[in-house]
Amino acid sequence: VLEAFAAALGALFTWPTFGYLTAGLAIGFVVGILPGLGAPTAMALMLPFTFGIPPVDAFALLVAMLSVTTMVGDITAILVGVPGEVTAAALVLDGHPLAKKGEAGRALGAALMSSLVGAVIGGAALLALIPVVTPIVLAFGSPEFLLLTILGLTFVGSLGGGTPLRGLIAGAAGLLLATVGLDPQTGIQRYTYGMLNLWDGVGLVPVAVGLFAIPEMLDLAIKGTSISTTRTAVGGVTDGVRDTFRHWRLTAVSSVIGTFIGLIPGLGGPVAQFVVYGQAAQTAKDPSRFGKGAIEGVLAPSAAMNSKEAGNILTAVAFGVPSTVTMAILLGAFLIHGIAPGPAMLTRNLDVTMSLIAVLIVAHIIMAAFCFAFLKQIAKLTFVRAGLLMPLLITFVFIGAFAERNSLFDVLITLGFGLLGVGMVRFGWPRPPLVLGLVLGGLAENYLFISTSRYGFDWLTRPIVIVLIALTFASITFAVLRNRRPPLANEHSELKRT
């Protein structure tokens, strides 16, 4: 495996493969910065251009694009509070407060370095897991996946710290929101109230952008100043890099969790970021710092977001099961190039698999180097006065909301959820569980349907299911008990509001 990896790495730096990789990075950078125009759009657009080129070059282009969109989505989330990708929404919670305090450079440095570390750990985990992953993944069926989604939701639901009940309510509301639209089994309209625009359900991008970006923009409009009023610390990039290694255990654990979440079909970036954020908040000595600019709240999601790509790739290549939309498109690229996903990808076509891992790692290293070179200039965006920034942010948010499904109705949804987001922030309701519920709703329903159809209610007695149920209750109990502890100084924190 290592020999094949070394060969793939060498091949990557030959012409024209490296040229395709660079083109992928450039396209991914532009697309990743815009909310709504994510990796799936970019990959779908570029797929036809790969028809006539060799498979390794095609994957260099596509995987580099995929890697970099995840990475640069962090930049706008931190600087202006608008997640460039839905998968960067968790970074708004602590990254943007850091930018407001004049520590944008530190937050960006931490995000980029932990992204890089996450990608490398994810790639290494992928290499290590290839021989042993088959029995692990095959031990999980629909009942176990259903419980995993519920566990993830309760875990993040209890993220509210002082308000676990509100977190669970927000998560349940998100699950209910996910049922809007045509029922996948029967085709019945659910909660559409005769509106054609709701037949396809409520889009994730409009909801996430509305919930997270609009409250930040309103905050900026009220202040009327630049995002950061502290002019002292445009630098701090190296501090952010040091933070990654100072909190090495958190970065490593988040990366490993991200890789495992990436292995589970359907879960992906939106889930991984909040689960590791919850894990970081739950295990922190002083969780009250979260939501107010805790660097750990930047490190954990960034690491997991990039390590999960390795897990995604593994399930796609080894089982032919795409865990995300982007992986489905990548699978399409495999088939177009005459490569059948499956066990052969770990034997006969090992060179292709290894080239995917090599691209994943190299693309992150190149993009991190590029971003570090210009980070101080990028961070200066936080000193642009609100008056100049506001029309650009409005344009940014509206285009993001529109672009996912080319629908003006989605812009209205964004405004509606923006209003809801402002209310949730003001009245102390956590927003991440709502988004997570929306992400997991469709999956959870599908798993519930398959589980009950296949096993009746006997699926509740499966050993792994029982363990996961126990873990779910333990997660809720832990959050409730933690809530009953005497309050820390200044415990009424942004954590409650995020």
């Binding site: 029922d183 089994q185 309103l218």
Partner: protein, 156 residues
């Protein structure tokens, strides 16, 4: 308590709406709606208990309800700026709906920068041109299909 009551109402509505659906279509929404209803009732009880407990003016609940003012911005100015921000969101929405994305965003930018931000013409024209160019590039290079403006589409 009012918010909890609102959520309980939504959960009940979701439950009632789903009653006539096929069993397969209603299993999941009903399960979630019942859970949401129970959680909302629990939250209502918890909030009611908390509101009866004695507390000072700086209690968390009071802080949560406070106007969105910062130490530098008095509440009345904060409220006015809030209203202006919401109005501009609606102006931009109307602009792109009526005259399309390219022109709508460009003209919206000009209007915002001149009326609210009171920027000079140079910065205004530069930013509006940049916005127009970016939207044009998205449409023509990345092939994002923006909706045509209602007014501009009428002659067709």
């Amino acid at each position: 308590v009012l918010i909890a009551a609102g959520i309980a109402f939504v959960a009940t509505l979701a439950l009632v709406t789903s009653l006539g659906w096929d069993e397969r279509a209603r299993l999941f929404p009903q399960t979630i709606a019942i859970a949401l209803l129970v959680l909302a009732v629990a939250e209502g009880i918890s909030s009611a208990r908390a509101s009866r407990a004695p507390r000072g003016d700086d209690s968390p609940a009071t802080q949560e309800m406070a106007p969105k003012a910062t130490p530098e911005v008095p509440p009345e100015i904060a409220t006015r700026r809030e209203a202006v921000f919401v109005a501009w969101l609606l102006v931009f929405l109307m602009a792109i709906w009526l005259i399309g994305f390219e022109l709508g965003f460009a003209l919206g930018t000009v209007a915002y920068l001149r009326i609210t931000a009171r920027e000079g013409w140079r910065a205004t024209v530069l930013l509006a041109a940049a916005t127009f160019g970016a939207v044009w590039a998205l449409e023509n290079v990345l092939h994002v299909s923006f909706a045509p403006g209602l007014l501009l589409d009428l002659p067709r």
